[in-house]
Amino acid sequence: MTTAAETPVPALGRSRGRVLRRLARNRMALIGGALLVVVVAAGVFAPWLAPYPPTEVHFSTPFQRPLTVGFALGTDDLGRDLLSRVLHGTRVSLQVGLLSVLLAVVVGVPLGLLSGYWRWLDAVVSRLVDLMLAFPFLIVAVGLAAINGGGLGNAAIALGIAHVPTMVRVVRAETLRFKDSDFVLAAHAMDAGPWRVLGQHVLPNALSTIIVQATVIMPAAVLGEAVLSFLGLGIQPPDPSLGIMLSDAQQYLLRTPWPGVFPGVAIALICLGFNLFGDALRDALDPKSGS
């Protein structure tokens, strides 16, 4: 029997089983998880689920209303099937998001670990991070678009670079926290070298924080892709992108709103799924929030 006042909750205690149990009990996590399954399935299986190729034009049937025969979500000004385009757009959004997260993780995690561990490196990495922060992602995207034109790869690079600094900071903070912990001290006393300490002690302990950070980056990158494509700096037409669809739909939105509604809803659902799940995961991992 313990009371909150007398027993400080251990800052670290966590085990996989308990986190999963907590997630399973959290309604938000379940909703978020279900949403993610649907969204990811839609993206992965888009080529098989979509009734038409996303760029196939049907000049005879522009601006079909939703729920018309053959076009479940209707068509746009060129008669392209909105359902097919939303499915493929979702696929592109997820691709860009995933690539950005990968870039942020691959660059950010090692930089964070190293700069947290070695003070002399910290000064260098900190300047680099400051520099990256000084260039907002749109500016980077603008630069890349100006050099190479748009495209999925450039959008992902711009968005990935944009999220490297936060990843570095988060991992660095975790490294600093664990570097001076007693269990790392104990490892040093057993003659564990820096790589063993970083790889076996610091990284596994920081992993949950990295995963949570990734669930923050993912929706941000999905939104970012939409913004870039909306501005004409991201995916280039006629490739499907939710951002481009919104940009196109803007012109005739007053007359026919649906081409401008479904892509927005799709983006919101993708992001909502990641945000809900990420929040729940953070709560489940937080030792301070009930058991």
Binding site: R127, D130, A134, F137, L223, V227, G232, L246, C271
Partner: protein, 318 residues
Amino acid sequence: MGRYLLHRLWQSALTLVLASVVVFVGVRALPGDPAQAMAGEEADPATVEAIRAQLGLDRSLPEQYLRFAGQLLSGDLGTSVRTGTPVSDMIGATLPVTLQLAVYAMVIAILLGMSAGVLAAVFRGRWPEWAANGLSLVTLSVPTFWLGILAVLYLSVRLGWFPASGYVSPFEHPLRGLYYLTLPALILGLSHTAVVQRQTRASMVETLTADFVRTARAKGLGRAAVVFRYGLRNSLIVVTTIVGLQLGGLIAGAVVTERIFSLPGIGKLTLDSVFTRDYPVIQAVVLVVTTAYIVINLLVDLLYTVIDPRMRVSGRAR
């Protein structure tokens, strides 16, 4: 403290110089020959060479950089390839619009975010927390530029509550200016509300469950006094840092917002120059934006030392 100040100044200066190098190298990496472009497709090689010499493009890269830096320091940002006007004039005309929009949006984000964050922290586990959390989830998930489009459509065009586009300087017509900026600022601000709200909530919860707050209650202070005197002051410190870090995103957001509401700001200038490959303008805009970011974060850090007494003695305590 004085040491810390000097250290921060030195860091900021270094970042600025590095940023200018990145921009310089980046622009040199752009495809196409500016001399050829200026001279025109049909120009003979001698003319192109002359222009090249005039632009200093025949010198070594370090020499070119020094020249470039010298021009920057004297306020010369070059000339637009597209319009032939000095870039500094173009930025002078557009930057105020973006700054007004950004500041207005930040004020909205802070007011909305802090109130929602405080409510969520104070009424933990009750409906205000659920409402605040819901709001933050929605603003984080719904693309705000889409909200912007819908808002223009329904609030401006259909209902006529707000002007759909256009800009009036608030310095000339204060009320009308604010009115024109309100919808754009609200849309831009909304996308940053969630971050402010979450940080406020987190720091409020941390403060309100801290031992020293229980001690304050044991003195006989009421809940309201504790929330405002203890919680708010501490979360203000956190929000201050956010403001600086959010600025990058805010500027990016401004580009989109200006596009939707046709505001003559720096975002519009950027987009126009990207699509016309107006390199001097792109280069200048990037420099101005990064400089603004670095300077504002420096100011935020200095403000920090004023708000947080722990910083006055020890320098950066974290």
